[in-house]
Structure formats: C-alpha cells, structure tokens
Symmetry: C3
Subunit: 106 residues, 3 copies
Amino acid sequence: MTFLRVYLGESDHCSHEPAYKKIVKLCYDKGIKGVTVLKGIMGFGEKHHVHRVDFFTLSEDLPIIIEVIDEKEKILDLIEDIKKCDFDGLVVYWDVNTIRINKEAH
Amino acid sequence: MTFLRVYLGESDHCSHEPAYKKIVKLCYDKGIKGVTVLKGIMGFGEKHHVHRVDFFTLSEDLPIIIEVIDEKEKILDLIEDIKKCDFDGLVVYWDVNTIRINKEAH
Amino acid sequence: MTFLRVYLGESDHCSHEPAYKKIVKLCYDKGIKGVTVLKGIMGFGEKHHVHRVDFFTLSEDLPIIIEVIDEKEKILDLIEDIKKCDFDGLVVYWDVNTIRINKEAH
C-alpha cells in the first residue's frame, strides 16, 4: 500500500471551494478507503518565504495535511487529479505495510 | 526502528473505554519508548462510507492517529495486542532512521 | 527527498526560546523548502515515564511534531544543527517521493 500526504494551506482554493475540502470529496468520489485531514499550528512553504518583523504572526493561513492510504495505483491516479486543482502545494508518498483491524473478527 | 500509526475514531471504544486511551495505556505498560496522539479535523474510513446531504457535517467522530516509534519486534508485538481491541481501524507501519536528542550531551 | 520529523514537548526550551520555534527559524534561515508544525493531544516520551494516579492528566506539556521535507543532504545537515539545541527529543527520517503542485501550471 502507499501512504500519500498532500500539503497545502487552509486558505488555498480550487474552483471557488477550499482546496482541502475539494480533495477530500475527490477521494470520497473515487472510492478511496481512508482519508484523514490534519491542521498544523505553524508552517511555511516554498512560496511563502516572506520575511516579517514578527516571524510568528505569519500564520493566518494554517497548514493543512491530507493523508490518504490506498493501493499504489489508486494513489498515483489520485495525484493526477489533485494536480488539476489550482493551488501551490506539495505531494509526498512512500510505501507502507498495512493491517486492517476489524470489529467483526471478535 | 519502525514507525507505527494507528487510525481510529474518537468515539471508538474498547472494554468500555475510549480505544485510543486504551492503546496509549497499553503502549505505556509495554514500555514503548514514545507515543504521540494526534486529532484530525476531518476524515472518513472504510466503514464510514455513508453519504450525507452535507458531506462536511459527518464529523462528530473525529479521526485519531496514534504514533509509536520503537524497535520492529516491539511494534509487531504491539500490533497483535491492538488487534485484540474491538474496533474498526487501520494500522500502518514502515521502517525509519532515528536519532535521539539528549539534553545531557551538552 | 527525505522526510524528517522532530518530536519534542511544547515546553522544551533552547536558548531561552521555545525549542520548536527555534527549530522553525533555523529551518527558515537555512532555506528549507517546507516546514509544518503539528501539536498532539496526548503523548509520552522516553524521559517522561512518570506514572501518575490519573494517567491522562500528564499532558500540560503537549507533544509537538516538526515536519520537514527537503533533499537528504540538507536534512542531515539540519539534524546536526538541531542536535546542538539543548532538549530531549527524537528525530526520525525516511526517504519519500515528492511532486510539487504549481498554480502557474494551469
């Protein structure tokens, strides 16, 4: 299985909608098995290298991370769709082992 | 070393206790070196594929991620114990390099 | 590319400054491409193995994770600088694939 993480900002938009919500819906519509969205407390990206007097007031646009775990093929296909969204972000992925925990097994 | 992540919901229970607290205690009792619990702001899993009118009101049961870093053997043993808990979740793990930062070294 | 995660506590300090802010500034000054800081809701580390009556009131010092993604050489160099900070923490890193999403491409 492949672990995908999409990094973007809370205020990034894609077709008049917050980009992270758009991507979660996209995952849902494509039948992706699991998606988790995390919000950071601070951060900067390649396009945000603006220096300020108070460095730590930079953050009205907090970082968002979308985590997706699924088969490699589905992840690569999803990345192609994410690329069509109009925002500045970063996509990171790597291979992992997975084990599903099932309630019914007991 | 091995990096383990357990994905579950905030409202998942295991022996009348929130499952994530149960797992943190389990880690503590087994002498696991480090555990961090994160809470997501949105998400869905394999068993939660319920479509709603307002997709984004789904989330009273916010996603929880438990992160554990330890030796592979201890992680695999921990996974066996986690499997005995009665909840629907996902376990993901992969190999990593680790370096400990020690205050005493200075 | 290499994915780096630094685990420390919210109350860890380094030269009279919160260690996590110091590390974010260090990344910024070194021209690191992207940094995200996450805050956990619970956790324990190797040096915090203190047992309490109520296990879950341990957490005034919440766990902080600093995520950095950049070229391996820059990450290894950054780790050397982080080691000079005077706190107890853990550094974890592994190789990943990355794809940049660019607004201009559309």
